[in-house]
């Protein structure tokens, strides 16, 4: 019935389901989205799901069980284009904070004790590109409606999605906010990919970094700026790590090189 429109599947791995929910939150556009594309699979929204060949797969969530690795590989085989949506899929999310396997195991035990799981075996949280090739990334915790609709429109129109190589500071300046770093607040705007429209700073709150690192982020300069404002090294390292998941080491490598 639907011949010339792209076949799209939306999949959720482990996460808060916020990115899939955000797609449902496009209330005004939702009926159009379902007409412009043939949504083959979207577990949160429909029960007649088909797992066949796809033009595009949107994958949310990080990989945290062995079953999910298999599911993900199956999605990659079926889809021409795979897009990671949301921070969990692009960088592993909050749950990728325990980068050391021993630390992760210790914490798993602290929460679940020694109960032997007959359930799917848990593994350390990783972004989807740890297991498969990813064609495009749409970051954010959660993704933004504007960015998603822009991305989706280009995709169904057959154009490659636009990149966002700008930090939050660009939106922040357009929004005429006063710089919070200058006021001594630990704002991560300069390091963080834009897409939210500087929402936190618009509310007088420092950027937390929930879009993950922007390309070419200068962590060294931010580090010394925050040191100057009186924050200690441990605190700065923690806030850099909170939302950067497996991308955190890129920050720490920069810092190491600077010291050497």
């Amino acid at each position: 019935m639907k011949n010339n429109i792209p076949k799209i599947g939306i999949y959720e791995l482990t996460g808060c389901a916020g990115d899939a929910l955000l797609i449902l939150d496009c209330e005004e556009e939702l009926l159009d989205i379902f007409q412009a594309a043939d949504i083959q699979s979207f577990l949160m929204a429909k029960s007649d799901n088909i797992d066949g060949a796809l033009d595009v797969a949107l994958v949310e969530g990080s990989v945290t069980t062995e079953t999910e690795v298999e599911e993900l590989k199956d999605i990659r085989q079926r889809a021409k284009i795979v897009v990671a949506i949301g921070l969990c899929a692009t960088a592993g999310g909050l749950q990728a904070r325990f980068t050391d396997p021993r630390e992760w195991e210790k914490n798993l035990e602290l929460v679940y004790g020694h109960t032997e799981m007959t359930h799917r075996k848990a593994i350390q949280s990783k972004p989807i590109d740890a297991y498969i090739d990813v064609d495009f990334y749409l970051p954010g915790c959660p993704i933004s409606k504007e960015q998603f609709l822009n991305f989706f429109t280009r995709l169904v129109g057959g154009s490659p999605p636009e990149k966002y190589p700008r930090p939050v500071c660009v939106s922040c300046k357009y929004n005429e906010n006063l710089c919070l770093l200058k006021q001594g607040l630990p704002c991560l705007g300069p390091l963080t990919a834009d897409g939210c429209g500087s929402v936190c700073i618009n509310h007088n709150l420092p950027c937390l970094g929930c879009w993950g690192p922007v390309e070419g982020a200068n962590a060294v300069s931010e580090f010394y700026l925050l040191k100057d404002k009186g924050f200690d090294t441990e605190f700065i390292k923690k806030i850099l790590a909170n939302y950067s998941g497996t991308k955190t080491p890129t920050f720490f490598d920069q810092l190491e090189k600077e010291r050497a």
Binding site: G18, L31, D48, T64, E68, M117, T118, H203, N242
Partner: protein, 586 residues
């Protein structure tokens, strides 16, 4: 043996499943599983500052992100003794109304309604139910709009912080919300009538204990400092563990809860059952019009209760706006000091009681405990699915009919799997599955056996006979029903070991057929529970119950004075063989 399973379950928030195992004419096992992996959120914020914790822990869940935010804020402000001004409290309630409207309208229209009108999803439903789909979209959009204006974003808004808000919304935005809420009223009533007058099936029906927060002042509301149960019992916020008693099951990464050893329910239906009488104005009138005894026992009425709460929220928004504008002088944020302390925050998320407990030491978060509504509902979801499956099986329903009903039941609870961690299947399991199950039990620990029955009643003597045979083969951990009745101390020291009851049980099958049931299911299956309740009550606590089983053989006759019939004798030999094999494993 057959297995009915829906996995993954569609049209729920997150990834989970439900499965039921059917052995002949008995449902032997029901499992509600959560397929998402563990995220260890409670450990992620340990060692972070209280402010980082407030931003990070609500990311457990997108659908309930405002509820999590309000819960962590209440916990943290209790821990740090922060008093926030009235305008802050009222605005937090306003954004909570936004989430309730958004989540309830999404659930009743998008996720639940397609089942009742025979469509696979809400978009397909739009071809016939154009107006309903539009109402749903508009209503959901309104809820989202409130969350964005007050909380900063649709999902994971960062504007609410310890001590207040980063920035207050403009008054003209609030007046717009008020007028929109009033304008929308006719559609709210349409929603209420639709969901309160839906033809809900009468299976499953059974009583349960309902729990929710008590807002105090005999008011209806979505947070409070006490938990109130339908039994009238109350717990102060810090004593929440007296209700939840969390434990872990091996088939899910979500923890489970029971109260007094029994499942309980939380959510919109729990709230309406516990405090529906407190509803005023139009929602009070509608409560009187629609509430009846079926709401007390049938979980499918969750959808009706949600529709009633949508009306409550739409009535509350204009009141809240009027109150908020009277406090125009209040500061957006009050200063506070970080100190050592522990605090608990109780709120009603759309799908039920949400508990956050956070402890701060040396300026950093030291311990976090979060109990989510779906984790609390999981045991009752399994129980109701069991009741539904057994009843439909008894009335001769087919597998796919059972599967559809299980899906309906799970979905009615509006489970939020991200919070706890999609859901229902019907599969055929190999025959003689009891052998594998038995092997798995015996591999771990050598069990304690209890022979049940009466040797004078023909086949009913098979349990005792089996026990005696085991003893003959040198197993010391075998007791007879009569022995444990006389001396309860016999049980001492066996607490960690699995218990297996041996008995002749009528499960409507061919004579001599064997089944292995978990004791939990025996106790909620009426004819069997009458026999077993007196034996196990008082002797077993819940922990042992989880590890107790009934190995039963279908008798031919239990007439007075007869011999054990040949098919039962044959089955007995097979069972004995398996048991002795298992014993050698140890």
């Amino acid at each position: 043996m057959k297995r009915i399973s829906v996995d993954p379950l569609a049209r729920v928030e997150g990834n989970g499943g439900i499965s039921a195992t059917i052995d002949g004419k008995a449902v032997t096992d029901v499992k509600f599983t959560i397929n998402e992996g563990p995220r260890l959120i409670e450990r992620l914020t340990v060692g972070r500052t209280p402010e980082e914790d407030v931003s990070m822990s609500p990311r457990i869940c997108a659908i309930c992100s405002i509820s999590h935010k309000n819960a962590v804020l209440r916990a943290m402000e209790n821990a740090l003794s922060v008093e926030v001004p009235p305008k802050v409290v009222l605005l937090r309630e306003l954004m909570h109304m936004g989430e309730m409207i958004e989540s309830h309208s999404l659930h009743v229209y998008y996720l639940a309604l397609p089942d009742y009108v025979g469509f696979p999803n809400a978009i397909a439903m739009a071809s016939k139910y154009d107006l309903e789909v539009k109402i749903a979209l508009e209503m959901k959009h309104f809820g989202n709009h409130i969350m964005k204006v007050v909380g900063g974003r649709y999902i994971h808004g960062e504007n609410p912080v310890i001590g207040g808000f980063g920035r207050f919304p403009a008054e003209k935005e609030l007046y717009w919300m008020k007028s929109r809420a009033i304008q929308f009223m006719p559609f709210v009533f349409k929603t209420l009538n639709l969901f309160c007058e839906l033809d809900y099936p009468d299976c499953p029906e059974d009583g349960t204990v309902y729990a929710c927060c008590d807002p105090g002042n005999e008011a209806y509301g979505f947070w409070g400092d006490e938990i109130l149960l339908s039994t009238g019992e109350r717990f102060f916020r810090d004593d929440y563990k007296k209700l939840t008693n969390e434990f872990i099951v091996s088939h899910s990464y979500a923890k489970r809860s029971r109260f007094n050893g029994k499942p309980y329910s939380v959510g919109a239906l729990a709230r309406v059952n516990v405090m529906g009488k407190r509803l005023k104005n139009e929602s009070g009138k509608m409560y009187k019009k629609y509430f009846n005894d079926r709401w007390k026992t049938n979980p499918l009425f969750h959808n009706a209760a949600q529709a009633l709460e949508i009306l409550y929220c739409f009535e509350r928004i204009p009141e809240l706006v009027d109150e908020i504008v009277q406090h125009s002088e209040d500061p957006a944020i009050v200063p506070y000091k970080i100190k050592e302390g522990a605090g608990t925050g109780l709120v009603e998320a759309p799908r039920g009681l949400l508990i956050h407990h956070h402890e701060v030491k040396d300026g950093l978060v030291y311990h976090v405990d979060i109990v989510t509504p779906t984790a609390q509902n999981a045991e009752d979801i399994e129980r109701y699915c069991y009741i539904a499956a057994q009843k439909l099986l008894d009335s001769g329903k087919k597998e796919d009919q059972i599967r559809d009903r299980l899906e309906l039941v799970v979905r009615a609870f509006d489970p939020c799997i991200s919070c706890s961690a999609h859901m229902a299947k019907v599969k055929k399991a190999p025959t003689d599955d009891w052998k594998n199950k038995l092997k798995r039990i015996m591999e771990k620990h050598s069990p304690v056996f209890i022979g049940v029955g009466c040797p004078d009643l023909s086949d009913d003597g098979v349990g005792i006979q089996l026990a005696l045979e085991l003893r003959k083969h040198g197993n010391n951990c075998v007791f007879l029903e009569s022995e444990i009745e006389e001396d309860e101390t016999l049980w001492e020291g066996t607490a960690d070991r699995p218990l297996i009851f041996l008995d002749a049980i009528d499960f409507n099958e061919e004579t001599g057929k064997v089944t292995l049931l978990s004791m939990n299911h025996v106790l909620i299956n009426a004819p069997l529970s009458h026999k077993f309740l007196p034996i196990v009550s008082g002797l077993m606590n819940y922990k042992t119950l989880k590890n107790a089983y009934l190995l039963g053989i279908q008798p031919l006759s239990t007439a007075n004075g007869g011999e054990i019939s040949p098919p039962v004798r044959k089955a007995m030999k097979t069972v004995l063989h398996e048991l002795l094999d298992g014993m050698n494993l140890n």
